[in-house]
């Protein structure tokens, strides 16, 4: 039982780290640009497809990863310049419609380019296999690598946001956009950087997850909504909130699915507990969101909504 708990906890943390990569860009785009981007999940999917293509072309996961990054920059910039840039001054409703259209376009394009059958990405040689954890328990090296890579990116983001000039502008932009613009900062450039950074992070999450999941057209959807929940829980515009929110959501989601039925079994008879556990487990994250919002409408680290 204890082993299972540790295992699932690690799985939760691994999912949380990926969710953070996705939610970080989303929360910055919301917080600084005040743009709601439904197409953020698409970027995660595109990242996975890009690495699948490049890894297949070069025969190496690492080259795939390396080539994926500049491609992600291009995709992000392209979307920003062609569509998102024109939405800054628009209502949220317009933003919802345009990015909803973008989701449709991107999903179909991916289907046209890569087909409907799922792709797989081979796991890099040096990260395959598993390591002993405690007692008889072993854990896949790759998943540990994903956790470490995610934490490294989070640390890097922390340094950039808190200790560089561009980070200062980001924080200032999230607090008061008008004021930053009035002080002579090229807000268009700042926005383009923020959006592209977010796009690259989402693509990176998709690329990292590609060797453990099958790469298919539906992968962006479930993640998008979870990332929304993370942003809402963490507070819009807060990187720290996105990090803690992502871990919280992922761990609750993972552990709830496994241990929810166990806990219920102590209250109900096994059949009812099983049934109820299955129904409740996928709703747990949203119940968590509801509870947190009830206490703090602006999220854990948000300013006023």
């Amino acid at each position: 039982m204890m082993n299972l708990f540790v295992l699932q906890l690690l799985n939760g943390v691994q999912l949380g780290v990926l969710l953070f990569l996705i939610a970080a860009g989303l929360t910055l785009v919301f917080g600084i640009m005040d743009v709601i981007n439904l197409a953020h999940g698409v970027l995660y999917m595109v990242g996975a497809y890009l690495i699948a293509t490049f890894a297949a072309l070069t025969g190496s996961f690492w080259w795939g990863l390396l080539l994926m990054l500049p491609a992600a920059v291009v995709v992000g910039l392209l979307i920003e310049v062609v569509i998102i840039r024109r939405l800054y001054a628009r209502s949220h409703l317009d933003q919802v419609l345009a990015t909803f259209g973008l989701v449709m376009i991107a999903s179909e394009l991916v289907e046209i380019v890569w087909g409907t059958s799922p792709l797989s990405v081979p796991m890099p040689e040096m990260l395959s296999g598993s390591v002993p954890l405690m007692g008889p328990l072993r854990y896949p090296v790759y998943r540990i690598a994903v956790i470490l890579a995610g934490l490294a990116v989070a640390a890097g983001l922390y340094v950039v946001v808190n200790h560089t000039r561009i980070g200062m502008l980001l924080r200032a932009g999230a607090t008061n956009r008008m004021m930053v613009s009035a002080l002579g900062v090229d807000i268009n450039k700042l926005f383009a950087i923020v959006f592209t950074l977010g796009a690259v992070l989402a693509c990176l999450a998709g690329a990292l997850v590609a060797p453990i999941l099958s790469v298919d057209t539906g992968m962006g959807e479930s993640v998008l909504i979870l990332a929304f929940v993370v942003v809402v829980i963490g507070g819009i515009g807060s990187i720290k909130g996105a990090f803690l929110g992502a871990l919280l959501v992922a761990v609750v989601d993972t552990l709830g699915g496994v241990f929810g039925p166990f806990l219920l079994r102590s209250l109900l008879d096994p059949a009812a507990a099983g049934q109820m556990g299955r129904v409740l487990a996928p709703m747990l994250v949203y119940i968590l969101m509801a509870v947190i919002l009830f206490a703090r409408p602006a999220g854990l680290f948000g300013r006023r909504a």
């Binding site: 909803f100 929940v229 809402v232 299955r278 919002l293």
Partner: protein, 331 residues
């Protein structure tokens, strides 16, 4: 003839109101004439598509009630379609197949869910509200996916359509079509009355200037929550009808894409016009059917259409439609 309809309203008439009712009447007459035309063309399939369009028109109008008149962009309204649809599935599995009982059950479920989630969502505004309603919609979606007693992900087939007061009115496609049309008209009359009532004016006032309405002494939260619940209940009526139209119920009714499509319909037809929801449902669903015939990859074209509309019509899609003179009768 136009002036009879508004006569029952206590609120003073304005040209825009008369325009709205006039536009709606034209639409309703056209809808009523459609089935005989379809049977003359010997293509009764149109009647089923027509039913689907009318049902979505109800949902879009219900959404417009809060989106257009209250600027509450709910991205979770497909959940209420699902509640209506599953009310049919669940009640009929217990042998209760009366349409009105099923509508009542859908309304009760929707009201409960909307009351709880609305109370939480309405504590926030703007982007937060959109994301939270989306998340709650998804929560309902997952609930029905894991509800294995009613087929879970695979859905649940209905052996027959609902009865109406013991008769098999909905057994024929025409009966279902005209019942749906009657309900659409009823929902329009109700929404129109709500919008013109004191309640509706306060609700619209909150959209225009929340602070001022608070200063005048109204509590925005209560008005918004009431409107949110009403809108949810009306949307579930559309769900009951859609379940009957397809004789099939599945969580796909509640996916977030469906919520997005409802918003698209409202905006296509014109926000805050009520009849816009009807026009939008017709335009969006016919466009889907048409593009679907052209290519298997129709979402690519539909998505491009959406993006171009938003980008190149200065006041959004509504502005373009207005310029073309379709979305008449704006407030």
């Amino acid at each position: 003839m136009m002036s009879d309809a508004p006569a029952m309203r206590p609120a003073p008439r304005t040209p825009a109101l008369a325009g709205r009712v006039k536009a709606a009447l034209v639409l309703f007459v056209l809808f009523a004439l459609m089935p005989p035309l379809a049977s003359a063309l010997n293509d009764p399939f149109y009647v089923l598509i027509g039913t689907r369009i009318l049902a979505y028109a109800i949902a879009a109008m219900a959404l417009d009630l809060i989106l257009g008149f209250g600027a509450l962009v709910s991205f979770g309204h497909a959940a209420y379609l699902g509640f209506g649809a599953y009310a049919v599935a669940i009640l009929s599995s217990y042998g209760i197949d009366d349409l009105f009982l099923q509508i009542a059950a859908g309304i009760v479920m929707s009201a409960g869910f909307a009351l709880i989630t609305g109370a939480i969502s309405l504590r926030t505004q703007g982007v937060y509200f959109i994301m939270i309603t989306l998340a709650f919609g998804q929560m309902a979606f997952f609930f029905f996916i894991s509800l294995s007693a009613y087929g879970g992900d695979d859905g649940y087939s209905l052996s027959q359509r609902s009865g109406v007061l013991g008769t098999d009115l909905l057994g024929s496609d025409y009966g279902l079509y005209y019942t749906t049309l009657a309900l659409l008209i009823a929902v329009f009359v109700l929404c129109n009355r709500i919008v013109n009532s004191r309640f509706g004016r306060v609700f619209t006032g909150i959209r225009e200037n929340r602070t001022r309405m608070e200063a005048v002494g109204y509590a925005p939260f209560r008005f918004q929550l009431t409107a949110f619940v009403i809108s949810a209940c009306l949307t579930s009526v559309a769900g009951v009808l859609l379940a009957n139209q397809a004789q099939f119920v599945s969580p796909a009714f509640m996916s977030w894409h469906r919520s997005g499509e409802l918003i698209v319909m409202v905006v296509l037809g014109g926000v805050g016009t009520l009849t816009g929801g009807i026009v939008g449902a017709v335009v969006a669903l016919l466009l889907e059917e048409w593009l679907g015939m052209l290519t298997h990859h129709w979402p690519l074209l539909f998505g491009t259409f959406l993006v171009l509309m938003v980008l190149f019509s200065p006041r959004g899609i509504t502005g373009l439609i207005e310029r073309l003179g379709i979305g008449r009768g704006r407030r």
